[in-house]
Amino acid sequence: MSSDQLTALLNSALTECLAGEVPGEQVMQLERLSGGANNETWRLMWGSTPLILRRRPFSADSIDQLEGNILGLSLVDEAAVIQLVTSTSVPVPEIHAVFDASHPIGEAFVMGFIPGESIPQKWLVDDAYEVSRSRLAFQCGEALGRIHRVDCSLLPANIGPSTLDKRFVAAQKRLHAYGDISPVMQFGLNWLIDHAPNEAPCVLLHGDFRTGNLLVDEQGLAGVLDWELTHQGPAEEDLGYLCANVWRFGQLHKPVGGFGEYDELIAGYASTAGWTPELSTIRYWEIFAALSWGLVCQTMGALWHSGNGDVERAAVARRRSEAELDILLLIEEWKNA
């Protein structure tokens, strides 16, 4: 859809949705933001208020037959989760309008714009964020502890509890469906099955809590974005995910997201969750996160093959090799530990 078409559709839809809530008459400066191989993100002005539109540009039908949660929630459910988390002190954007797949705009929602820096290559290295970085691992632990205490009975019905066994079955189905092209991915899945921790209670997980999906300002954590992979699972999953190599953006010496240390993350978490997770279980989930990233890359390739997406999506498929490399490095480290 062109940006002019989208502007016209938004003008008519938002006039109604935002009446009495956000002053303005029409969409201005609609601009597609870079990045985001799955959902589109657009920035726009409504009057003098900056807003963000999240929109799914394709039908998920082509991949619906594959189980699992790789592609993520509908945007309608994602918006519902963000609204639910608003009741905690975790910084999330305000949801202003939600459209389901039958709307001419397509499946989408409009939310408030939180000021802050999201681009890791800036805030991970820039001196202006030095103080912020020193606090961030603790703050991320605090935020995750709060998210994990959200009452799961209030979640949309699609976000149910799961078990590791089900996740393994889903991952195996995907590897088969994508043609069994990677012995390393299969080796990684086998290893994860053989070293699985005991089943733990399910909590609400962000599911994609990592550098790149966090907004950071001079004070530290300013916003938690991209809730499309939210699901239920064991708490350590979110913690390990944040520490995965692929989300350290080159700052490998800082295990928590490329900016912090494990003990800071764990201390922050304990302060709001009321219990202290084991580092070894967090490290297990780092390997799981590597496999998950590989599966996301393969899903992008499958989507592109089905005619959905541009050159970025085709290229992301090749980033599977990052996941493969990390799977082997981490398993070797585990063996030598």
Binding site: E31, R32, S34, G35, Q172, L175, H176, G179, D180, I181, S182, P183, V184, M185, Q186, F187, L189, N190, N245, R248, F249, G250, Q251, L252, D310, V311, E312, A314, A315, R318, R319, R320, S321, E322, E324, L325, D326, L328, L329, E332
Partner: protein, 135 residues
């Protein structure tokens, strides 16, 4: 016409040179003329050309490595063109003893795959330092 340019007939422009030419067009002409998503994608496209070039160079070595592994771990069954698939499926069926030799093969394979797809990925430097001397 100089001797040099006589040699450089159209058919003498190698695939590498063509890739270089397209990359130059994308980065020097297309990129500055585009904006937003299209500009981003032009940069992605230029990177993709790098993958193509590196796969041209390293692909045969990877294919040979996989074929040899299939011969070793799936003797008699191996069909060289689908070696990665056969190895993956045998792993899924737990038919391969994943001892340290097999792990060494995976590491060697992965150094090649990473060098093709994303040589700048930070973990690759770590892996290169750890594994390069082992083989």
């Amino acid at each position: 016409m100089s001797h040099d340019s006589e040699q450089r007939t159209a058919s003498d422009v190698t695939v590498s040179e063509l890739l270089k030419a397209v990359k130059g067009f994308l980065m020097d002409s297309a990129l500055p003329a585009l904006s937003g998503r299209d500009q981003f994608n032009a940069r992605v496209a230029a990177n993709v050309l790098g993958i193509i070039e590196r796969e041209q160079q390293l692909g045969p070595e990877l294919t040979a490595l996989d074929a040899a592994a299939a011969q070793q771990w799936l003797p008699g069954e191996a069909e060289p063109s689908t070696a990665p698939q056969q190895l993956s499926r045998a792993l899924a069926a737990r038919e391969i003893n994943t001892d340290s030799h097999f792990f060494d093969y995976l590491k060697k394979r992965q150094l090649l795959v990473a060098a093709i797809n994303n040589p700048r990925y930070a973990s690759r430097k770590v892996a290169e330092e750890k594994w390069r001397d082992e083989s």
